[in-house]
């Protein structure tokens, strides 16, 4: 267990820059999530930390020691792959014991540690099976046991749950969180799934085009994103134009706010669940689309030339008809965005 420090790590592949001088610090025992769309460089960064890909420049330190010059086998960094990457010709026990064998750990000690690691992921009974006889979830748990049994300084996860179905993914996500807390391992988790990032992380780093554009604790990042990109990538949001009038920000439907919303630029972020909608024949908005999602109802409301997305609990509320006049009220103060404003026609984002 150790701190991880990256300074100015950059990588280009031919003409494409995968990473622009990325620096980051992960505290001992911290669980950090790298969140970003496909091709943002998050997997490249993970592979560079593991030593599978060589960076063009920059330093990597684990527990204060420089490791970027070392081959992967000398780094003591565990990596859990999206594809599980189990050795198909070895049993579950041999897979988990491989790292210990490579370290020359005596057989009896190794066997005990393999057993403990398999018990940790509830797979003790399957030690003698081959990977192909296991389900996807079981295979990924074997991969997890294989990565933690070597007691790595840092544990890396490269979208480990992406190949699993939704229900299994949620369950394994919870197990993973409990395990990481129990073992206290410093961990970096790569994902493009914002729900996964928020559920697991102590801190989320949002990546875009090879750069870390924003970071923060899940709640802070969700409620008060600084950039439009982070606001849009973490869940749905409305990026709305505001008019400044007498030191107050005026929402498209006329609601006024003082404070932060009024001080910053011309656009604010307001989450669909933070807007209350009530039927009102004299209201500023008109419902133009309704989607029933079971747990919630999502409506698209046109206010002037802006479309606003509103989400309400699905519990017992009447489903509004298209064409209904409604009035809107922001339940919380909208959050200003520091990034460049979007054109009005593209004000709604999902």
């Amino acid at each position: 267990m150790s701190t991880l420090q990256l300074d100015g790590v950059a990588k280009t592949f031919g003409d494409t820059t995968a990473l622009h001088k990325v620096s980051l610090h992960v505290a001992d025992g911290e669980f950090v999530t790298l969140l970003g769309p496909s091709g943002c460089g998050k997997t490249t960064l993970m592979r560079i930390i593991a030593g599978i890909t060589q960076p063009d420049c920059g330093t990597i330190r684990v527990g204060g020691h420089e490791i970027h010059m070392l081959p992967p086998e000398k780094r003591n960094i565990g990596l859990v792959f999206q594809s599980y990457a189990l050795f198909p010709h070895m049993t579950v026990a041999a897979n988990v014991g491989f790292g210990l064998k490579m370290r020359g750990i005596p057989r009896d000690v190794a066997e005990a540690r393999v057993k403990a690691a398999l018990d940790l992921v509830d797979l003790g009974a399957l030690a003698g099976r081959h990977p192909r006889a296991l389900s996807g979830g079981q295979q990924q748990r074997v991969a997890l046991a294989r990565a933690v049994v070597i007691e790595p300084d840092v544990l890396l996860f490269d979208e480990p749950l992406s190949n699993l179905d939704a229900k299994l993914r949620d369950q394994l996500r919870d197990d993973l969180k409990v395990l990481q807390r129990r073992l206290g391992i410093t961990a970096i988790y790569v994902t493009h799934d914002q729900a996964e990032a928020m559920a697991l992380a102590d801190r989320i780093l949002v990546m875009k085009d090879g750069r870390i554009v924003e970071e923060g604790a899940p709640v802070a990042l969700y409620r008060a994103p600084r950039t439009r990109f982070a606001a849009e990538f973490l869940g749905q949001t409305n990026v709305l134009p505001v008019r400044l009038d007498g030191g107050q920000a005026v929402m498209p439907w006329g609601q006024r706010f003082g404070g932060v919303a009024a001080r910053a630029g011309s656009h604010v972020s307001l989450r669909p669940e933070d807007i209350a909608m009530t039927a009102d024949p004299a209201g500023a908005g008109e419902v133009c689309g309704v989607t029933f999602l079971g747990a919630s109802v999502e409506c698209r409301v046109v206010v002037g030339d802006v479309e606003v997305r509103v989400r309400d609990s699905g519990s017992g509320v009447a489903i509004p008809a298209i064409g209904t006049r409604v009035s809107l009220t922001a339940r919380v103060a909208p959050h200003p965005l520091s990034e460049a404003a979007a054109p009005l026609t593209a004000a709604l984002t999902a």
């Binding site: 592979r47 593991a50 030593g51 599978i52 081959p71 992967p72 086998e73 780094r75 960094i77 565990g78 990596l79 792959f81 999206q82 594809s83 990457a85 189990l86 050795f87 198909p88 010709h89 491989f98 790292g99 490579m102 370290r103 081959h130 192909r132 991969a143 294989r146 990565a147 070597i150």
Partner: protein, 285 residues
């Protein structure tokens, strides 16, 4: 049920009949010929004389061993060269495309041409001897020598790209993440090679070994040109007995024995890889 069996028989007939007529029948005739039955240019009648001659004559017995030697040794030498070459070719390196093309050149050169190349290079007074003589290196006898070094060189020259191609395909089919996983778990390049790459590429490695081995068993042109005067491989004895002595019965017996050895190796291959193929699941090559 009878209708279904009849339908199945009719459906199998084109492929099965083709195999029976063009593969089964000649093999059966060769097999029977070894026992004096339906022998070309001789009266038919069951006899064990041909096998008695084959196993009772020292030059033929030595020929059988020599054929086996010419199958095993060049194949092992080729394998030892092909494995690292296939691994090296799987890595990205400068000039990869050019090298990938160049190493395959021997594939399109006929065996007889390869034999002449080796002769030109390594025979007494050949190119290699003339180049090395001024620096004081005297090459041992490499062509028509006792250990058939010339045959081994020519066979390996032909077989290495062939085996590399098959093994390279097998290595290339291994998920890169699996190799990366092995490295992060503490395996260096050599340990990954032995513990991960070789076992996972084993179906391809054994297939390449087997095909080269069978080719070596029946090789005629290369051992005849570059091999020692004695022993001669069974393939050369077959030629002599067929076209110079018109003893087709003995030729059939020799052919049958060579085929049986190859079939034996094939069965051993399937037996050895059965458990492996079962435990890998998808890996059935």
């Amino acid at each position: 049920m009878n209708t279904r069996s009849a339908t199945a028989a009719i459906l199998i007939l084109p492929a099965g009949g083709y195999l029976a007529i063009f593969f089964g029948l000649p093999l059966l005739l060769a097999f029977l010929g070894g026992f004096g039955l339906f022998t070309r240019g001789a009266e038919t009648g069951f006899t064990l004389d041909h096998y008695r001659t084959l196993f009772g004559t020292k030059s033929y017995r030595d020929g059988l061993w020599f054929s086996t030697y010419l199958a095993i040794v060049p194949t092992l030498v080729s394998l030892a060269l092909s494995l690292p070459l296939a691994v090296a070719l799987a890595q990205t390196h400068p000039g990869q495309k050019l090298f990938n093309m160049l190493y395959k050149v021997p594939l399109v050169v006929p065996g007889i041409v390869a034999a002449f190349i080796v002769m030109t290079m390594f025979d007494r007074g050949g190119l290699a001897a003339r180049v090395l003589a001024p620096v004081g290196i005297d090459l041992p006898k490499l062509v028509r020598d006792q250990w058939a070094v010339g045959v081994i060189i020519a066979t390996a020259w032909k077989a290495v790209p062939f085996m590399t191609l098959i093994i390279g395909g097998s290595l290339g089919a291994i998920n890169r993440d699996i190799l990366s996983a092995a490295r992060t778990l503490g395996a260096g390049p050599l340990a990954s090679f032995w513990h991960i790459q070789v076992p996972l590429a084993l179906p391809g490695i054994t297939a390449a070994f087997l095909l080269t081995f069978i080719g070596g068993m029946g090789a005629y042109a290369v051992p005849n040109l570059l091999g020692p005067v004695y022993p001669l491989p069974l393939s050369v004895h077959m030629y002599v007995n067929a076209f110079e002595r018109n003893n087709w019965g003995l030729v059939s017996a020799m052919g049958t024995v060579l085929s049986l050895i190859s079939i034996g190796v094939l069965l051993a291959y399937y037996r050895a890889t059965r458990s492996m193929r079962q435990s890998y699941g998808g890996e059935t090559r």
